[in-house]
């Protein structure tokens, strides 16, 4: 195939699919074994300084905040992060100084809440480097190629734009139609972390609400840590196998963390804690405030349970559950003048 154009972005997470197959054969357990562990153990075992990480969910929806706080607590450094719609997950890691490089589909923003002050400061000041750009579909299709064990996925996106010029994709002449088409290189993250509604001790997972790109990401990553709102009996999984979205095969560790996505939204369970997010967004406007935030909610607490008590405990969590059911008063304290 004739190569018509090549992006000059850094190629993150690349691996020859044949080498990946062989790595899988040597390193991934195909046996159904119990994988239940603790946050502390999962982070220290799978997150190495400088590794490429990707988080499931959608940046501030169903992200594993409990895992992210533990990464911060353990002082991991030099991380590369897949900015595949990264919102509060990535922003916290950047604010805490854990991140060196980001490949950006959507990053450094909090959607309707505006730009993330800590991330902006880090990127505009050069402390965190953006090594490539791409689109949301492109990132997810990079994972899809990896999940299928293929070197690339063709797509009609990014063509003709600076997004392509700053990406790691290539444009070739499609031998079937004779037209230019974009080839998205497979991305195999070192570690993916996905928060789910329920799974069994082996890691057979169920997710409620939009799946985003977790089916592809789970299969693309070399190591997959699943945190779950609760662990359920395998019997329950086997009764309705069509509800399983990630089978045990891909999973390396399972950690039970109720409310593990707080202050983010867990579809069907609890809504965004907008008060907490407003506090975070306001404190992270300054370096001093950022230190204060992490001291109060991460370094200064023993574990995630203590964190939950500190953010308002049972009463707060009940209120977030009510909001998720559409009951109670929605508030937007980060809104200008509101």
């Amino acid at each position: 195939m004739e190569v018509l154009e090549e992006g000059r972005g850094k190629l993150l997470g690349w691996c020859d699919p044949w080498e990946h197959r062989e790595w899988v054969r040597r390193n991934k357990t195909r046996e159904m074994v119990e994988k239940v562990t603790t946050l502390r153990e999962a982070v220290s075992r799978f997150v190495r300084d400088g590794c490429l990480m990707a988080f499931g969910g959608f940046g501030h929806v169903r992200v594993s905040m409990a895992f992210i706080y533990e990464v911060i607590r353990q002082g991991k450094r030099g991380l590369k992060v897949a900015g595949k719609t990264a919102v509060h997950d990535l922003d916290c890691l950047i604010a805490a100084g854990c991140v060196e490089e980001v490949e950006v589909a959507y990053s450094f923003g909090h959607e309707l809440r505006g730009l993330s002050p800590a991330s902006r400061r880090a990127v505009e000041g050069g402390r965190v480097k953006v090594v490539a750009e791409l689109s949301n579909a492109a990132y997810q299709w990079r994972f899809k190629a990896a999940a299928a064990g293929l070197p690339f996925m063709p797509a009609y996106v990014m063509l003709g734009t600076d997004t392509l010029r700053r990406s790691s994709a290539k444009v070739v002449r499609d031998p079937f139609t004779g037209r230019p088409i974009c080839l998205l290189p497979a991305c195999f993250p070192d570690v993916a972390v996905i928060h789910v509604h329920e799974c069994d001790v082996y890691g057979n997972c169920r997710i409620e609400g939009a799946l985003v790109e977790d089916s592809e990401l789970a299969r693309a990553a070399k190591r997959l840590v699943v945190t779950t709102e609760r662990i359920v009996p395998t019997e329950r999984i086997r009764r309705e196998p069509w509800r399983t979205v990630i089978p045990y095969l891909y999973v390396d560790a399972v950690v039970e963390v109720p409310y593990g996505s707080h202050p983010c939204n867990m579809p069907g369970r609890y809504y965004f804690d907008e008060e907490h997010l407003a506090e975070y967004l306001s404190l992270t406007r300054t370096e001093e405030g950022t230190r204060e935030y992490f001291e109060r909610y991460v370094y200064g607490v023993e574990d995630f349970e203590e964190y939950l008590r500190r953010v308002g405990g049972k009463r707060k969590l009940r209120r977030l559950q009510e909001l998720e059911r559409g009951r109670g008063t929605f508030s937007y304290p980060w809104r200008k003048g509101g």
Binding site: T85, S135, N136, T163, R335
Partner: protein
Amino acid sequence: MRCSRTEMMVVAASRLLEDGRTVLTGTGMPVLASLLARETRAPRLSIIFEAGSISPLRPPALPLSVGDSMTAYRAVMAASMDYVMCLAQAGYADYAFLGAAQIDPYGNLNTTVIGPYERPRVRLPGSGGANDFGSLSWRTIVLMRQDRSRFVERLDFLTTPGYLTGRGARERAGLPRGTGPWRVVTQLGIYGFGEDGRMELLRVYPGVTLEEVRGSSSFEIRAGQVEEEPEPTARELRTLRRLDPHGMVTGRG
């Protein structure tokens, strides 16, 4: 009935959506315009969100994220991003709403950086799903405020394709035939695109003059026969305010 320019903008955007079609939408003004269309003139409009939700009903609160639980409220399917992007690539997405920090005369959009790429003055979030929507949907509608720093001759970064360098350039780059920007809706009026792929003013809101429109752009605004967009009806405005009771979207402008 008196309304703000932001409200006028959302109402004007909602009127562009034909009933019985699909719209890929985002948070803020796009979702408000899409819901307003559904509640008024386009009850069979299907709203689709990139994180996977297909055809939800009106949620108890406006979504804050294109992937939050409100986007899937009474939806017919909570699918995946792959699913939604594939349906768009296969031709099922009639409209897509996009916002932008900068737009050029060909409808190309920037949501990546303001200033030089290597040392940006403002680092924006990047493409997100914008490049995908702008590449794959039949009719893209851009919803943004206009002023001289946003309507620019040259973008600091071309994130999402409009007509690139003119009609035909998209197809030459490999983008699907027949797609591209269709309307641009600002706080002053509504634009379309001419034969050569350049923006031209189609309609202005009541009380807006051509001078004001031209003074709010760094590139020359082409205008032929410009019509006046009717004010929101009482029903449109009532519905809009019921959809956004806290003024989360409209109250910011």
